[in-house]
Each structure stands twice: as C-alpha cells, then as structure tokens.
Amino acid sequence: MLTLILNLGLLFFFKYFNFFIDSFTNVALILGMSPSIHTLQIILPVGISFYTFQTLSYTIDIYSKKIKPEFDFITFATYVSFFPQLVAGPIVRAVDLLPQFKLDLKITTEKISQGLLLIVLGYFKKIVIADSLAPLVDHAFANPSTYTSLNLVLVVVFYAFQIYCDFSGYSDIAIGLGKMMGYNFPINFNLPYFAVNFSDFWKRWHITLSTWLRDYLYIPLGGNQKGSFYTLRNLVVTMLLGGLWHGANWTFIVWGLLHALFLIIQRGFEPIAYKLSNYFPKALFKFLGILITFTFVNIAWIFFRSQSLDVAFEILRKIFTFDNMDFSALKPKFQIAKAIIVVLILIIGEVLYFQFSDKIDTIINEKRFAKMILLAFFLWMILLFGSFSNNNFIYFQF
C-alpha cells in the first residue's frame, strides 16, 4: 500500500497537480468563489508515466505472489531505468524482464541483425512518415478555421498515421535495441488500424499499456464478471484513467471516455452484428468493421491531438459542415502529395504483412539477402523522403 501511494503520489504531483488545481479553480469560479490556490512550476520527469507503471506492476506482482522480490539493487534499478524503453515504453513487467537479467545472454549476429532491422524500421516510421505528416497536422490543428472540411478530414487521417508511426517507431527502436543486447521486449503494436472492432483495437494499440490496465485495473475491479452495470463501470473507469494517464488535460479524459463509449456500444451491438454477418460475405463484413473502427478511432484522435476541447469541437464542427469538399482546394498540395505517398508505402507494407506475415517472417529470417534488401529499402526511403526536422517523439511528453 505504501509503495502504491508513493508511486502514484509522485506521478500525481509531477503530472496532475497543476491540472487539478486549475480545474478546481475554474469550478470554484463558476460557483462564485475565488480560491487563492497557486499552481507550481513543476518540471515533468521524462518517462514518469512509463516507469511508474513498471514499478507498480513489480509491487503488485510481488503482492499477488507472481514473482519474488528482487534483493539485488543494481538488477532492480536496471529494470526500472533500462534505457531502451525508459522514456516511452514498451511497459515491460518485472516477470518478463527481471529473469532475463539473470541469464547469461549471448549477443549473436542473428540478434544484432534482427535488432538492427527493427531499429531502422522504427527510424523509417518516425523520420519518413511521422515527421513528414507533422507540419501538416500541426498547422491545421493550430489554425482549423482556415481549412476546408476535406482538408481537415485528410489532416485527421494524417494524424492517425503520424501518432501510430511516431509511437510504434519508438517502440520498434526500443525493442530492436533490447534485441541487439539479447533481451526480448513484448511487442507494443500489432497493425492497430486493421482492428475489426474497438476491443480488437485495444488488443493491437499500445498493447503493453492496455494489458497493464486490463490486468491491474479492469480485472481487479471485477472485469466483466459482475454483471452489466459493473462491466460498464469498469470499462469507463479503466478507459478514463487510461486517457488521464496520457496527460493532464480534459482532451485526454474525453478521448478515454469516447473509447469507453465505443466499447460499450460495441458490446450492445455485438448480437446484432453477429446476425448481420450472416448476410454479408466474410471479407466484406471484416472490411466494414475495419472502416467503421478506423473512422471512430480518428474522431477520438481529434480530442487527443487538440490543445483544448474548444479546438476539438471546432474541428468537428468544420468537418461536419462539409464546407468545400473540392480536391482542388486542398493545401498545401505538394506536401499533401508526399504525405499520401509515404502513408501509402506504409499501408501497402502493412497489408502485405497482414496477409502474408508467416511467409514474410520466414523469408526475412532465412534469406540473408532479403533482410539486406529490406534494411537497404528503409534506408533509401529515409534518404529520399525523410524529414530531418528534429521533432521529438510524441510519447516523450507522457
């Protein structure tokens, strides 16, 4: 209990103190009071959200006797501050990582080449895709009133790929670095935009966070075992805290609540969807599921990306006025052309992997030349399309 309070207390202080003070002050002002509570100039420690959850999982797993306490301080400190995944994940549990520190792991050329491929893939996603999309997204979210509806729709889709490539790119680099040193980290993303529904999305997006929330929050609250009301309550609490984990802003809370709403609606709709699936070809039904999930996930991303709820609602309002859906009015044209090309490269790559993952993995693992060409391909794309604008990884801010 003491470690939970300490860990969560530190996280609350550094990340949420000012947010709650500001929110409390705003509510008090609405009620006609004028409280005199000041916010503090707090510097947010890098990666605090990630290593806090990591240390919490360690404490909770000891309490539930899944693991034994680690008495070697160096090993424990290495687990908490292991550099590849310290700043932005993946969130690695003690039960997965601590035993690896005790093994006599050998660094092999095979592991180095696999790790290198992941690192270069990560940089490809970050430098070619995420950083190419960033200027378009940043400008539109800062000045939504100057954009047409179609332009904003495109920008929101671009943001979906920006955040995916930025975050999964970092995860790939972290996993690749770990692999080069002989350590195995869990995967953090599994083609999330191929999700056929929202629960499938959360099995594919930021997997280490969603499984952490499932195992340490949702299931201890009762999961879906205590009837409909408690299931809905547990979903709302989990997704709300999942949203809040990302940052101290109402936009993240709304983002979390929207995902809770989507999951609730999905549960209600599942029997109808099951019946409807009999009337459609399987592939078409799956495609519709992917399209609907992607659309609503994008709507939620608007809140995630916006600086304030006002901006988010303005973007939504502008999109749904369908003002000027003319393609010729899109701007800036050539940057959009580049953005579409790099996103298409990603989509084609992921579709191919989605369809033929076993074959592709076999070819890459067994044929050295195939691995070499793939590695070279990512580097060629970085040279040709890379945006070297020194943008930080998005999840560093969490």
């Binding site: 052309a337 070499m372 590695l375 070279a376 060629w380 040279l383």
Partner: protein, 297 residues
C-alpha cells in the same frame, strides 16, 4: 570474417542501390517541364526573348502563355514562390551560361522588401550536380546536406521539387496561373489590418544591383517592376513610394510601378497576388513598354 563480409555486402547493396534509384530519378526529372528541370536538364539550349524572375508575385503576374500568344513573343517565367534574390542571381547566371541569352529580363522586385528569410538553397539540391554555383552555396550554408548529398546522391531528391517535377511530367509548367477571385468579405477584412512600413533589405539591394550590372554587361535589357497590390491592402502601406524611389536611386534603373494599376478586387486572388485576369492586364502594361515588343512592332 563472416560478419565483415556481410557488412561489406550490405554497404555495397545500400550504396549501389541508391545510385540506381538516383539515376532513375535523374532520368525522370530531366524529362519534366518543371521550370528548373528545363533550366538544368534541357539538352537543347533554351531560346527565349523575354525572361521573368521573382517570387510568387512574379509567378502570378507574368503569364507567359498569354504573352506568347498575344504579342508573338517567346517568354519564360523562372519565378518561384519565396525565391530570394541570392538564388535569382544564381539562376540567371546559370541560364546565361547554358542557354541563349534573352533580349530582356523582367525582375519583380517585391522580394527586396522586408526580406529576412534565408535563401533555401537546399531545395535546389536536386540540381547541384548541374550547377557548380548551387553546389558551392550548399557547401557554404549547409555542410551536412552537402556531405550527405555527396556520399548518397539520392538525398538530393529529398525535396518538394521532386514532386513538382513529377507533377509537370505531362503538364506544361508555364500554363499554371491562379484563377481564384477574392470575396468581398475578404476584401473588406483587409481594411482591419494594421498599417505597415516596407523597408528595403540592403543585402538584397546589393544583389539586385549585381544582377542588373551582370545583365547589362551581356546587353540584356533589364526591367524592374512591382506587381499590383490589392487596393485595400495598399492603403495600409505607408511608405511604398519612398521605398521604390530608394530602389531606383540605389540600382540606377526605373521601377515600373504597377502597385496601383489594378483597382478592382476581382483581379486579385489574395492581398498580394493577382489572378489570371489581372495577369493579362499586367502583361499589356509590361510588355508594350519593352524593347523586344517595340522592335518587333
């Protein structure tokens, strides 16, 4: 030894593979009608009587297809958005070196005002293998880009010009013109803007002087001009006449001042750029005063 052998094999694949892609892109770019691809890759010499160069106000105000058809002249617009005078000087020097000299060059001079932007030489990196001047400027201003481009020539194509070259593979680059008309609401909103003063950038004035001297030495007629501004916007600029007089005094060439020549908002696509209809009127004002036209008629 095996890891070393694999590493060398990989480097060779990487290096020669990027060369293959580079050569393919070079072939594509050389076939494009994008203006700078024409300048640097055209195998036959460009032969135009009139050139225009400037920033986006030059792009929008000099409509060469109209000029060519109306006045039976061969004109070409080398203007580009955000073009800085340093780059304009290089482009003109390269043009005179590689192609037949024109009879006249029109230079839109508004990039002399309030110009604090750095020349974006790296955008022209795609042509650095064809232009020693561009190559030197990149080396001088951005050593990292220079070294990376020298080691991996594929990096030269990492810029917007590649996409423009691809876009203009099957379309004529000179045919582009802005056809948008501002709304009355926009026109009225311009009146809410604060007033401003223009000021000439001394370094850019010096470069403009060098361009004029260079062109005159080659017996090329030089015409400096200022494209029209939206009248409501013009009313917000306090000292334009003074700045024009300053340019004329420093350069020793009269500026054809068209800033007030279009009174209707219908001829404008925003406060500083004219549209197709405006460009046609400007063409009549500019070309009729030029020597190539007078000599033909």
């Amino acid at each position: 030894m095996k890891p070393l052998k694999i590493f060398i094999e990989f480097l060779a694949t990487l290096y020669f593979g990027q060369w293959i892609i580079t050569l393919f892109l070079l072939f594509i770019v050389s076939k494009s009608s994008f203006r700078f691809s024409q300048l640097y890759h055209k195998t036959t010499k460009m032969d135009y009587e009139i050139l225009c160069i400037g920033n986006s106000r030059g792009v929008n105000s000099f409509y060469s297809p109209y000029i060519n058809n109306t006045f039976s002249l061969k004109s070409y617009n080398l203007s580009y958005n955000g073009l800085n005078l340093s780059i304009e000087k290089i482009l003109l020097e390269d043009y005179l070196e590689n192609h037949n000299k024109p009879k006249a060059v029109f230079i839109e001079v508004s990039n002399v005002f309030n110009s604090n932007s750095k020349p974006y030489y790296e955008s022209f990196n795609m042509y650095s293998s064809k232009s020693k001047r561009i190559n030197e400027k990149i080396k001088e201003t951005d050593l990292n880009t220079y070294i990376l481009s020298a080691t991996f020539p594929l990096y030269r194509y990492n810029n917007e010009f590649l996409f423009r070259s691809l876009f203009y593979m099957f379309k004529a680059d000179q045919n582009w013109i802005n056809r948008y008309k501002i709304t009355e609401g926009f026109n009225q909103k311009v009146l809410e803007m604060p007033t401003k003063n223009f000021s000439c950038n001394k370094k850019d004035l010096m470069i403009l002087r060098q361009i004029v001297v260079m062109l005159k030495k080659k017996d090329v007629n030089v015409y400096l001009y200022l494209a029209p501004y939206l009248p409501n916007y013009l009313s917000k600029i306090n000292n334009l006449s003074f700045q024009i007089a300053y340019i004329e005094k420093e350069i020793g060439v009269k500026v054809i001042n068209l800033s007030r020549s279009l009174s209707k908002p219908d001829f404008f696509s925003d406060r500083v750029h004219i549209n197709e209809e405006g460009a046609k009127l400007v063409a009549n004002l500019l070309i009729r005063s030029s020597n190539p036209y007078k000599n033909k008629n």
